[in-house]
C-alpha cells in the first residue's frame, strides 16, 4: 500500500505506524465534518450518533459472527443513522424539544448496546469477541486492513463534502434561501448527516463510542477561534484532529497501560484550551488586553476631565490642584497617580509642586475635545 510506504521512514515500528496512521485519518475526517456540525449548532448530534452506533456493532456481530471491520462499521453506521433520523422525526412529529430527543435516543440506544454486549460476552461461542473495546476504543488493536477501511470511507466522505461545498455552505448559513433557489435542502441535510455518521463510525474502534463526540466538536471549536473563513476553518479543524490523533497514539503507545482514545481526547482538549486562550481576536488573552487598554484609556480621560472640571472653577484654566482633590473624584486613588504620570508623558498635564498638578494648554484642548465627545 503506497500510503503505508509513506510512513515507513517516519515510523520504524509497524504497529505504531498503523495506529498513528489510523488516528490521523480519524482526526482529519471527524475534524473536517465536525466543523459543519458545530456551525449548524448540532454539536450534540455527534454524541447521539456515536452512542447509537453501539447496538449496531453488537447486532452486526450477532448476525454475521464476524469481526471484520467493514461489517462492524456498517452495522454502526446503520444504527447511528437510524438514531439520527429518529431524533429528527421526534422533533418534527412531537412537541419534544431537540435536546430531550437527543438524550432519549442516546440513552436508549446505548443501553440496548450495553445489554447486547453483555449478552455476547456470555455466549459460549464468544471467542473473546473484544467488542467491548468499542466502548473506550483501543487503537493498539488497529490492523492494516482497519486503516484501509478507514481511509476508503473517510476519503469518500471528504470527496463528497468537497463536491457539494457550495450547497453545504448554503445549508449551514441560510437554508431557507437555498430552498428558494431550488436546492433540495432536506436531502442535503440528510446527506451531510450521513457524512457525519461516516466520520463517527470511522473513529469508533480507536476512540470509542463514549468519547467520539469530542473528536467531532473539539477540533472545530478550536479551529473557529483562529479563522473567519469556512474553508480555512474546515482545513484547520482537520489538521487539529490529525495532530491530536497522532500525538495521542504516540503518547499512549510509549507508556504502558495508557488508553489511546482518552489520550487522543486529552490532546485535542489541550489544543482547544490553547486556542480559546491565545487565538487572536477571539482568544481570552486578546480580549483581556483589549479590555485593559480600553479601561486605561478611560481612566486617563476621567482624570483629565476631573482636572478640567476643577480648573473650570477658576479664572485660569491652568490653575493647579492636589492629587488628594482629584482622588476624591475618583474611585481608586492609585489610578489617579498613574494616570497623571501617563498624562504628563503626553504633555497634557504638568507637575507644579510636589503634590500639585495643572493642565497644559494642549491638555486643555484635549479635555475640551473629550467633553464635546461626551455630549
Amino acid at each position: 500500500m503506497p500510503f503505508l510506504e509513506l510512513g515507513r521512514d517516519l515510523f520504524y515500528d509497524y504497529t505504531l505506524r498503523t495506529v498513528a496512521m489510523g488516528s490521523a485519518v480519524l482526526g482529519v475526517v471527524s475534524g473536517a465534518l465536525g466543523a459543519y456540525a458545530v456551525l449548524r449548532k448540532q454539536s450534540l448530534l455527534g454524541d447521539a450518533i456515536s452512542h447509537a452506533a453501539l447496538p449496531g456493532i453488537a447486532l452486526a456481530f450477532l448476525l454475521t459472527q464476524s469481526k471484520a471491520p467493514l461489517v462492524l462499521v456498517f452495522g454502526a453506521a446503520i444504527a447511528g443513522w437510524i438514531g439520527t433520523l429518529l431524533v429528527i422525526s421526534i422533533v418534527n412529529q412531537t412537541r419534544i424539544k431537540e435536546d430531550t430527543a437527543l438524550g432519549l435516543v442516546l440513552s436508549v440506544f446505548f443501553g440496548t448496546g450495553l445489554v447486547l454486549l453483555t449478552f455476547i460476552q456470555k455466549m459460549p461461542t464468544a471467542k473473546q469477541s473484544g467488542l467491548d473495546t468499542f466502548l473506550f476504543g483501543q487503537a493498539a488493536a488497529l490492523m492494516e486492513h482497519d486503516v484501509i477501511t478507514m481511509v476508503t470511507l473517510g476519503g469518500i466522505s471528504l470527496f463528497v463534502m468537497q463536491l457539494f461545498w457550495k450547497e453545504f455552505k448554503l445549508l449551514c448559513f441560510d437554508s431557507n434561501f437555498g430552498a428558494s433557489l431550488g436546492f433540495p435542502m432536506r436531502i442535503l441535510d440528510v446527506l451531510l448527516i450521513t457524512l457525519l455518521v461516516a466520520a463517527i463510525v470511522i473513529g469508533l474502534q480507536t476512540v470509542g463510542v463514549v468519547l467520539m463526540s469530542a473528536m467531532i466538536v473539539a477540533p472545530a471549536a478550536a479551529a473557529r477561534q483562529w479563522t473567519d473563513r469556512l474553508g480555512a476553518m474546515v482545513a484547520l479543524s482537520a489538521t487539529f484532529g490529525a495532530i491530536a490523533g497522532v500525538c495521542g497514539a504516540v503518547i499512549s503507545s510509549s507508556m504502558a497501560r495508557m488508553p489511546t482514545g482518552p489520550t487522543i481526547v486529552l490532546c485535542i482538549s489541550a489544543i482547544v484550551v490553547a486556542s480559546i486562550t491565545i487565538a487572536p481576536n477571539r482568544g481570552l488573552v486578546w480580549n483581556w488586553i483589549r479590555n485593559q487598554r480600553e479601561r486605561r484609556k478611560l481612566q486617563i480621560e476621567v482624570v483629565l476631565n476631573n482636572l478640567y472640571a476643577l480648573a473650570s472653577q477658576h479664572a485660569d484654566l491652568r490653575h493647579s490642584h492636589s492629587i488628594a482633590a482629584l482622588g476624591t473624584m475618583s474611585a481608586n486613588r492609585s489610578n489617579v497617580r498613574n494616570s497623571l504620570k501617563e498624562l504628563s508623558s503626553r504633555g497634557w498635564v504638568e507637575r507644579v509642586s510636589s503634590d500639585e498638578w495643572a493642565l497644559t494648554p494642549e491638555g486643555i484642548v484635549q479635555a475640551q475635545q473629550i467633553a464635546d465627545r461626551g455630549r
Binding site: 456551525l39 449548532k41 463536491l163 457539494f164 461545498w165 457550495k166 450547497e167 455552505k169 448554503l170 449551514c172 448559513f173 441560510d174 431557507n176 434561501f177 437555498g178 430552498a179 428558494s180 433557489l181 431550488g182 436546492f183 473557529r224 479563522t227 473567519d228 473563513r229 469556512l230 480555512a232 476553518m233
Partner: protein
C-alpha cells in the same frame, strides 16, 4: 429578460395554512400586478412571513394555489428573488460579505459548479448598488444591522429577478439605510420589477409604497394604497388597537388626515391610542 406588463406577477387563490390546529392563513386570495411596490402589513402573528414563505414554496399549504406569471413557483423560480429576515441567519458564520452576496448566483450556477470571476464581478456590482463596495472582504460578524440588510439586498439583486419578495427589510436599520433601501426599491419598480415587502411601520406605508395588502390571517384588503389604506381597513386588521399616525405625525383624525375614504363608516370616532 422580458417584463410581463399587464399580467399578474403573483396570484394566490384560496390559500389556507395551518400549524397544528391553528390557522395561520385562512382562505387568502391575493393578486399582485406586475410592476407594483407592495407592502404587506398586519399585526404580529398575522401570517405575513408565512405568506411569503408559501409563495416561495418554503412552507406547505393545507389548501390553495400559488402561481407566478401563471405557472408554479418551481417552474418560475429564476424569476423570483428573496430577501429573508435578517435575524434568520447566524451572522457569526465564518464567511465574508462578497461570499454571501455570491450565494445569490448559486441557483443560476446549479449543482456543484462554484462561483468564479464572473460571479465575483456581479457581486461587486450589486454591492456598489447598495453602497457596500468597500465592505466586500469584511467578515460578516463585523457588520451593523443596516449593513447586514444591505448585504441581503445585494444578494437578491444579483439574482437578477423579475419579482422580489422581502421580509422586513427595514427591521432594525438606521434612518440613512432606510432611505437608501427605499430609493433602491423604487428604482427597481421603475425598472419594471415587482416587489412585495413585509412592512411594520404604518406611518411610512403611503410614502414608500403604491400598493398595500392588509393581512390578519385573512386578507382584509389589497389594492392601491390610496384606495385601501384607510382607517376602516386598519381597524379591521389590527382589531381597533391601532394607534395610527398620519403623514404629519399627528394622531389620526378623520377631519385632517390625508387618508380619507368618502364612505368611511365611523367618520367622527377617534382611534384609541
Amino acid at each position: 429578460m422580458a417584463n410581463y406588463p399587464g399580467s399578474l406577477a403573483i396570484e394566490v387563490e384560496d390559500l389556507t395554512v395551518a400549524y397544528r390546529d391553528e390557522p395561520v392563513l385562512w382562505d387568502v386570495d391575493l393578486n399582485v400586478p406586475t410592476g407594483v411596490l407592495m407592502a404587506i402589513v398586519g399585526p404580529n402573528g398575522a401570517g405575513k412571513t408565512t405568506l411569503i414563505k408559501v409563495i416561495l414554496g418554503l412552507v406547505g399549504s393545507a389548501a390553495g394555489r400559488v402561481s407566478i406569471y401563471g405557472q408554479s413557483y418551481a417552474a418560475q423560480r429564476r424569476l423570483v428573488g428573496y430577501v429573508p429576515q435578517r435575524g434568520s441567519v447566524d451572522w457569526d458564520f465564518p464567511t465574508n460579505v462578497l461570499d454571501v452576496v455570491m450565494m445569490g448566483r448559486y441557483g443560476a450556477l446549479g449543482w456543484i459548479r462554484r462561483p468564479k470571476s464572473k460571479e465575483r464581478k456581479l457581486a461587486l456590482e450589486a454591492l456598489e448598488k447598495v453602497g457596500m463596495e468597500a465592505f466586500a472582504s469584511r467578515q460578516i460578524s463585523q457588520l451593523s444591522g443596516g449593513q447586514q440588510q444591505r448585504v441581503f439586498l445585494a444578494r437578491a439583486l444579483i439574482q437578477d429577478a423579475q419579482i422580489y419578495l422581502m421580509d422586513e427589510p427595514f427591521q432594525g436599520v438606521d434612518a440613512t439605510t432606510e432611505r437608501a433601501i427605499v430609493s433602491l426599491l423604487q428604482a427597481l419598480r421603475a425598472a419594471g420589477k415587482t416587489l412585495v415587502v413585509v412592512h411594520h411601520d404604518l406611518q411610512t406605508v403611503e410614502d414608500y409604497f403604491d400598493w398595500v395588502t392588509l393581512l390578519n390571517v385573512r386578507r382584509i384588503a389589497s389594492g392601491p394604497v390610496n384606495e385601501v389604506f384607510n382607517e376602516k381597513n386598519l381597524r379591521l386588521t389590527y382589531g381597533g388597537r391601532v394607534a395610527f399616525l398620519n403623514r404629519n405625525g399627528n394622531a389620526h383624525d378623520e377631519t385632517q388626515t390625508a387618508i380619507k375614504r368618502p364612505n368611511s363608516e365611523e367618520p367622527n370616532r377617534q382611534v384609541r391610542g
